[in-house]
């Protein structure tokens, strides 16, 4: 009995240690961007040059997006609690303004997007999950008393990489699927197909996700008929 208790405690201890190692060692990619940030009608403009230091590591200098420069840096980090130091620099690399902020990351989050203008102005959503879940539905869409019917079979390609095949709701089909995309700007390519998978109609649209949004809902009949409201925030 005593031996069993010791063995059980040992096994539980090893499992706890494994979980601890996973949490402290899990990599999170932080995209630090010096880009325009819009929230509640307010626009925060990027700075000419900023220096960003994450968790006391190697500092990154990020210029305003111009030409080929995207105005962002990619930093790899581990653990749940982080500290970021932002220094706004002038042309001679002198620090004009600086700010230090702390943030936490959920262990399930792979990528984060950290917006510097938003951070400097304490705007909500300055740090957000960079991976957005896109729910795509092939269901009837009703607006202004008019209903746009679902298609028999559609193929949706998110950002020219992830393909979803969605049938009309019924016969065991939910009429919905989801995919994960990273970043804010995306494309959506839709093919309407018949039962023999022959493409009848296709359309490509672009859309932008806001920083604070984690999940979006896209309605295929609404997209195909150019109806406002085809893109909305997903509510569980």
């Amino acid at each position: 009995m005593k031996s069993w208790i010791i063995k059980s405690v040992l096994i539980i201890g090893i499992i706890v240690l494994a979980v601890f190692l996973y949490v402290i060692g899990k990599e999170h990619i932080v995209f630090v961007e010096n880009n325009t940030f819009t929230i509640d009608g307010k626009i925060y403009e990027p700075y000419d040059l900023v220096r960003v230091t994450l968790d006391g590591g190697e500092p990154d200098e990020i210029k305003k997006p111009r030409g080929r420069s995207l105005g962002r840096a990619k930093v790899s980090t581990t653990g749940l609690n982080h500290k970021v130091l932002v220094e706004i620099l002038d042309d001679d690399d002198n620090v004009i303004e600086s700010k230090e902020a702390k943030f936490k990351v959920k262990n399930t989050v792979e990528e984060l997007l950290l917006n510097i203008p938003a951070l400097m102005h304490d705007a909500k959503g300055w740090v957000a999950n960079n991976q957005k879940t896109i729910y795509v539905e092939n269901k009837p869409f009703t607006t202004d008393g008019k209903t746009y019917e679902a298609y028999e079979f559609v193929r949706v390609i998110l950002d020219r990489s992830k393909s979803l095949e969605i049938r009309k709701p019924g016969d065991g089909h939910t009429g919905m699927d989801k995919g994960v995309v990273t970043d804010l700007r995306h494309t959506l390519y839709i093919e309407i197909m018949d039962n023999e998978e022959k493409v009848l109609e296709s359309k490509e649209v672009s859309y932008t996700v806001k920083h604070a949004q984690d999940a979006l809902l896209i309605n295929v009949p609404a997209v195909m008929n150019d109806v406002d409201g085809w893109l909305s925030e997903y509510e569980k």
């Binding site: 240690l17 190692l21 996973y22 060692g25 899990k26």
Partner: protein, 377 residues
Amino acid sequence: MSTLKSKDNKGKVSRFFVNNAVPILFILFAVLAIPMANLSIEYLIAEMITRLARYSFLVLALLIPVIAGMGMNFGIVLGAMAGQIGLIFVMDWNVMGVPAFFLAIIISMPLAVFLGWMAGIALNHARGREMVTSYILGFFINGVYQLLVLYSMGAIIPISNSKIVLPRGYGIRNAIDLVNLRKSVDRLIPFEIGGVEIPVMTFILVAILCVFIVWFRKTKLGQDMRAVGQNMEVARNAGIPVERTRILAIVISTVLACIGQIIFLQNIGTMNTYNSHEQIGMFSIAALLVGGASVAKASIKNAFVGIVLFHIMFVVAPRAGKTLMGEAQIGEYFRVFVSYAIIAIALALHAWRKNKEAEFARRSLRIDTEEATGTSE
């Protein structure tokens, strides 16, 4: 009387050469090849330090089955495969640095224990043929491993990281860049001497293993293993659970090999999913034999001497081949040929040495008897 003593001294000298024939052969080879290779001493030292850190754990993992009289455990490849499975999971979960190293060990250890236990049972059924059985067992488990990694991972076992999964959605890529893990343990305590990087933490782990082996030999289990190694029937009559002791020896060896493979791969920084483990058994055993060990007797000293001598050949042979024949590939062929030949020579020498030892024992007995009765030539 004096003639007998001089014969005895001659016997001792010849016994020393017989016992250390392989290391002496390699030292001679190194003495001849190093000047031909035209490599700087600093480079050679740096290489030897890296290779000692890389291979020590794996070679030391072979010692415990030797104590238990099971010879060279070719089955360490089973532990190596378990270690690689742990690394695949850690890479899939994007865990980095030292936590990734220890997490890989925790994940792979139950698998290593299971494989070691299974191998131990198989070897108990193949008493007297342990080495060839463990060698073939390695091939068998390799097939299971390939099936698991190539078809189950991503399909049945959830692996989703696009960096390690094949584009078809299941199966692991042929080569995995262990960028998250590379030299994480080696560089945990940064230290340099004259521009040569010393992997302090890895050496600390190796030192802990050496202390463990020394301590383990003195424990009840260690003594039991020694007794089993000397004579199974006597050990069984003395109440030692022979089969269980032998299984434990293989389990410990497999677990140590699993950790050793993770240390090895974190140092290399790249994992060849389907090949990295294959040569491990052969190279580790060759290194231990080169160090003067035999299938019946191996020590920590043999492990370190063997790694240095065997890997001097690895570094020097291609360059020496280029100097001698104008082509590095000749040296490389030579190295491969020697690696396998060493095992054959060591096994043949083991049989020869056993005969010599028996002859020496007979002669000593005769001298003692003659001294006791006062008769001499």
